[in-house]
């Protein structure tokens, strides 16, 4: 696609940059939030829950990455990673507060 780079408008390039950032950073936040959620809420021993959270976080990172480049626009990419992150963040905050009042 970029080999025709000369003909690509700036808006397209910005959209690709935006998607890349959404995937790399937004995806990381989403993966982190999932790992925290599993670490705090999974009904297992503390170390097992933390471990399971870590092991599965990369699957969510991968899915977020794919979503960011498969969805229809850069805005949707950001929305798709930030909304679930926010939701998980709220659950995590609540769970953390219940454990460490």
């Amino acid at each position: 696609m970029k080999s025709k780079a000369a003909g690509l408008p700036l808006s397209y390039r910005l959209a690709v940059t935006s998607r890349s950032l959404a995937a790399l950073l937004g995806g990381y936040v989403l993966a982190s939030m999932t790992s925290v959620c599993i670490a705090l809420l999974a009904p297992m021993a503390q170390v097992d829950a933390a471990l399971t959270g870590l092991l599965s976080s990369f699957v969510f990172y991968l899915l977020a990455f794919i979503w960011c480049f498969a969805c229809r626009s850069a805005w949707r990419a950001w929305l798709g990673v930030l909304l679930p992150s926010l939701l998980l963040g709220m659950i995590n905050g609540l769970a953390y507060w219940m454990k460490n009042p």
């Binding site: 933390a50 092991l55 990369f58």
Partner: protein, 526 residues
């Protein structure tokens, strides 16, 4: 990206592959070499002789050496020799000394217990460390290589989505058809070793997940210390009493471990507070005894009375999952045949990355087949392709040549070997900039062919442990290294010959390849 899902994934595969391909190639190649880390180290330090394994005697010798040379150390570590490692290594931590956390290490001869004055070299350890630290300051190299591993996993998944007719394509190989053959090769190798590729890239994430994804640990534990204590079932080190007490003989404790776990090979032995009445001895089973890392496979004794204090705690299912991935990645359990299979799979992974990079450029070069020079960005990719692939091979060869040619007494000798590696790599980059693409490939590969093929001869001339000696003595680590170098040299010579001989095929075959590339575009959508 308005096209379908598959096209979007093909796009992602193409561009992440290009940006990370050069680094991934180096990570895969050095990682593949690391499967023979001990054998490479044996070649790099031929002064350390291997003997018949005798753990009890070796352990006694190590204790003797440490007692007379490191009596006041706060802890000792002993690594017993095994089938792949000839040296009896001892390390100790000096409580007063600074620098490198006060650690001293010595390689002892397994039979005499005397320190071996081997040439200063990092050997296989260099490639192993480069594989995940990239010679960058801590922790940046680990972060970057783990990101590369994630991109590799992404590349595999997007690659599978792109080529969904994976089995049909696996049985299609059309050699001698330029671009089409590269794609077929890329797919065939990629699919053939797909389970290995998925395992190796996911497990590298598992190895450093505590570092790159720490949020879960921090939220649950507050810091990583508590998590590691829980995960590895570690105790705090015992407090020194200051009362001197004679140590129990280590061979006796070794015999006790053998009654508890018959036939278990010991990896390393840690002695805390040696010579103190609070001394503790921990035996850890060799990593090669299990596929997964086992936290249960260690035994701690009172260092004075020799009483068994505790055995490692059993693993949970989640731990076994993580530890199995770690063990599969490192391949410590693999015997000679499985180790060669690991090596072959590693080479295949390197080849998938290499063919991908070549294809990216080949496809775009076709459009400029008739013009005299490439556009700037394509020329940049070409130069980086050459330097990152054939240049890296030259760097590896330079490391081994430096190992044999640098004087043994040279100050900072091990560092000079590493400098030779980077110097050769840098020179090959300059060469790639100065020479036209195909010539640069051919010349670097030809030089690489010579450099690798002559290594056995160089070894024979400088150490007297050439193939005639090593095969006769049954030293297969030494002979295997020489034969592999020779094989690598012959292979590189074959490729170099193709590169240097072939007439400019781009101009002649333009109509045919252009048609082929139309098919490629159809498949790859880019």
């Amino acid at each position: 990206m308005k096209e379908g899902f598959r096209q979007a994934m093909a796009w992602l595969h193409t561009w992440t592959g290009l940006i990370f391909g050069w680094l991934l190639f180096a990570i895969f190649l050095t990682g593949t070499l690391s499967y023979f880390k001990e054998e490479i180290s044996h070649w790099a330090q031929p002064e350390i002789r291997s003997h018949q394994l005798d753990p009890v005697t070796s352990l006694g010798l190590a204790q003797q050496y440490l007692q007379s040379n490191a009596g006041n150390a706060s802890s000792w570590f002993i690594r017993l020799p095994n089938e792949r490692e000839a040296a009896l290594s001892v390390n100790w931590r000096d409580p007063n000394a600074q620098g490198r956390r006060g650690f001293t290490s010595k390689a002892l001869d397994a039979h005499s217990g005397e320190p071996v004055e081997a040439r200063d070299s990092r050997g296989g350890e260099f490639f192993y460390r480069f594989h995940f630290q990239l010679e960058m300051p801590y922790p940046w190299g680990r972060w970057l290589s783990t990101l590369c591993a994630f991109i590799m996993l992404l590349g595999l998944v997007t690659g599978i989505i792109t080529h969904k007719k994976i089995f049909k394509e696996f049985f299609t190989f059309r050699p001698g058809k330029g671009q089409r053959s590269w794609l077929d090769g890329h797919n065939a190798i990629g699919v053939l070793v797909l389970p290995f590729h998925l395992m190796i890239s996911y497990s590298s994430l598992v190895l450093f997940m505590y570092m790159v994804m720490p949020a879960g640990i921090l939220a649950s534990y507050g810091d990583t210390g508590g998590y590691f204590n829980d995960l590895f079932g570690r105790d705090d080190p015992p407090a020194m009493t200051g009362v001197a007490a004679p140590m129990a003989p280590l061979p006796e404790l070794y015999a006790k471990v053998q009654t508890l776990a018959p036939g278990a090979r010991m990896g390393y032995i840690q002695i805390q507070n040696p010579g103190d009445s609070s001394a503790r001895v921990t035996f850890t089973q060799a990593a090669g005894d299990h596929v997964a890392y086992r936290r249960s496979a260690n035994w701690t004794f009172d260092g004075v009375s020799g009483e068994l204090l505790r055995q490692g705690a059993p693993e949970s299912a989640a731990m076994m999952t993580a530890f199995s991935f770690a063990g599969l990645h490192m391949g410590n359990f693999a015997g000679p045949w499985l180790r060669w299979l690991y090596f072959a799979f590693g080479i295949a992974g390197t080849a998938v990355i290499g063919t991908g990079l070549v294809m990216w450029l080949g496809k775009r070069q076709l459009k400029h087949a008739k013009s005299a020079s490439l556009p700037g960005e394509l020329r940049l990719v070409e130069v980086l392709n050459i330097a990152s692939m054939s240049g890296l091979l030259l760097g590896v060869a330079a490391f081994f040549w430096a190992n044999r040619l640098l004087p043994v007494g040279l100050q900072g000798r091990a560092d000079w070997e590493v400098k030779a590696f980077f110097l050769a790599w840098a020179v090959s980059l300059v060469h790639a900039v100065l020479r036209p693409g195909r010539k640069a490939w051919g010349e670097q590969l030809a030089l690489g062919a010579l450099a690798f093929a002559l290594l056995p001869l160089l070894n024979a001339l400088t150490t007297g442990q050439g193939l005639d000696q090593s095969i006769a003595a049954g030293d297969w680590a030494m002979a295997g290294f020489d034969l592999t170098a020779l094989g690598t040299g012959l292979f590189l010579g074959w490729v170099a010959n193709k590169m240097l001989r072939a007439p400019k095929p781009v101009a002649k075959r333009a109509p045919r390849t252009a048609k082929a590339s139309a098919e490629v575009v159809e498949v790859n959508g880019c």
